[in-house]
């Protein structure tokens, strides 16, 4: 077998292996995010809108709050945490950034870094 042909067959084999691995990945080697249900029946916007645009709402609201002193609850991060922080068996709220919790789970799946919580509280007040 000529060196060139060896290389060619090798390449095909490698691609086939990669393909198989890719298929397995798509079928669940990366766990889907666990979306824990928040308080109440419905979020402040339809779910699809929240999935794509939650950051738009938060960015708008943060400027209004910091500079204008507007403290409406609808798009406030504090209220997100209020509803979406799950409780453990003892009823204590768990941080939304803990493994498998609301924010962390989805952001780790989407590989998007979560910056809010180096400053903002990850659990509600009580």
């Amino acid at each position: 077998m000529s060196p060139l042909r060896t290389f060619f067959y090798g390449l095909v084999a490698a691609l086939a292996l990669a393909g198989a691995a890719g298929g397995a990945w798509a079928e669940g080697r990366t766990p889907l995010p666990t979306i824990t249900k928040g308080k109440g029946d419905q979020c402040v916007e339809p779910t699809a809108v929240m999935r794509t645009d939650h950051m738009r709402f938060l960015l708008h609201q943060r400027d209004e709050t910091v500079h204008g002193g507007i403290r409406t609850k609808r798009h406030s991060l504090k209220e997100c945490i209020e509803c979406h922080a799950a409780r453990d068996a003892t009823g204590k709220p768990m941080p939304v950034t803990a493994e498998g919790q609301f924010c962390q789970s989805c952001h780790s799946f989407a590989a998007v870094h979560l910056d809010c919580f180096s400053c903002h509280a990850t659990t509600p007040d009580k």
């Binding site: 209004e64 910091v66 500079h67 204008g68 409406t72 609850k73 400053c119 903002h120």
Partner: protein, 250 residues
């Protein structure tokens, strides 16, 4: 979920209702009444320059050995010591002035002076340091890059820099590494309609009443009254910054 604009708690609402009843009782003619409701700003309305929040500190009432205001501020805003006091955040501190000629000592609480023309805002390269319409000087931590120019510019040395990662912040007081911060005049309380700061509350509770918080523009406020009656000074008056924090007895 619908927009919940009403954040007043039931007891406050009850009070307001009684106040409305009282206001109605003294209406002397249509459109003219003797009592006006306190101007609690609804949460969906922007702050305006109709108010100017500030403090009046009576240094003669500040008690030696008392640190109630400092403790209350730390508690209210979730400031915790790291065991390295040289770099720990201080939003309020007590200082002692000593007249070298006479030896007379004055003790007083000292914090961001909430200038009308704040040097920290002048020098901020990103616009993070700003003065709210109602006179509260704040740092927008979303924009702050931690350059600390404002700390250099502040004639009062009122600002602190957060050097280390933080955990367990208060939901109402977000703060974190890499940002400059200082006294906010308890802005979370002001926005909630509270008419006092943690330090003023604590000082009153300790029985000194050396700190009074209020609206410098409201002729019916206690602070307006006191400022009209007492001789007061601004620290570093020569800089012409028109501070929102005034001192009596220094």
């Amino acid at each position: 979920m619908s927009e919940r604009a009403d954040t007043t708690d039931p007891s406050r609402r009850g009070f307001l209702r009684r106040a409305v009843a009282a206001a109605a009782a003294v209406t002397i003619a249509p459109g003219i009444s003797l009592v006006r409701l306190a101007d609690a700003r609804p949460p969906d309305q922007r702050v305006t320059d109709a108010n100017r929040w500030g403090l009046l500190v009576d240094a003669s009432k500040c008690a030696d050995g008392c640190g109630a205001c400092v403790d209350a501020c730390n508690e209210e805003n979730g400031l915790k010591g790291t065991g390295r006091p040289a770099t720990d955040a201080q939003w309020i501190r007590t200082v002692r002035l000593r007249d070298k000629a006479t030896g007379r000592e004055t003790r007083m609480p000292y914090m961001c002076q909430h200038c009308e023309h704040p040097p920290c805002v002048d020098v901020c390269p990103t616009g993070a340091s700003f003065r709210r319409a109602d006179g509260i000087v704040l740092v927008d931590r979303h924009i702050c890059i931690g350059c600390r120019y404002c700390m250099m510019a502040c004639p009062y040395k009122a600002r602190s820099f957060v050097h280390e990662d933080l955990t367990g912040q208060k939901p109402d007081v977000p703060r974190g590494k890499g940002c400059v911060e200082s006294c906010t005049l308890c802005v979370q309380r002001v926005d909630a309609g509270d008419r006092s700061t943690a330090c003023a509350d604590a000082c009153a509770k300790a029985g000194h009443r050396a700190i009074v918080f209020g609206d410098l523009k409201d002729p019916k406020s206690e602070i307006f009254d006191l400022l009209a009656k007492l001789p007061t000074r601004q620290i570093r008056e020569d800089l012409d910054l028109n501070t929102g924090v005034r001192y009596h007895g220094v």
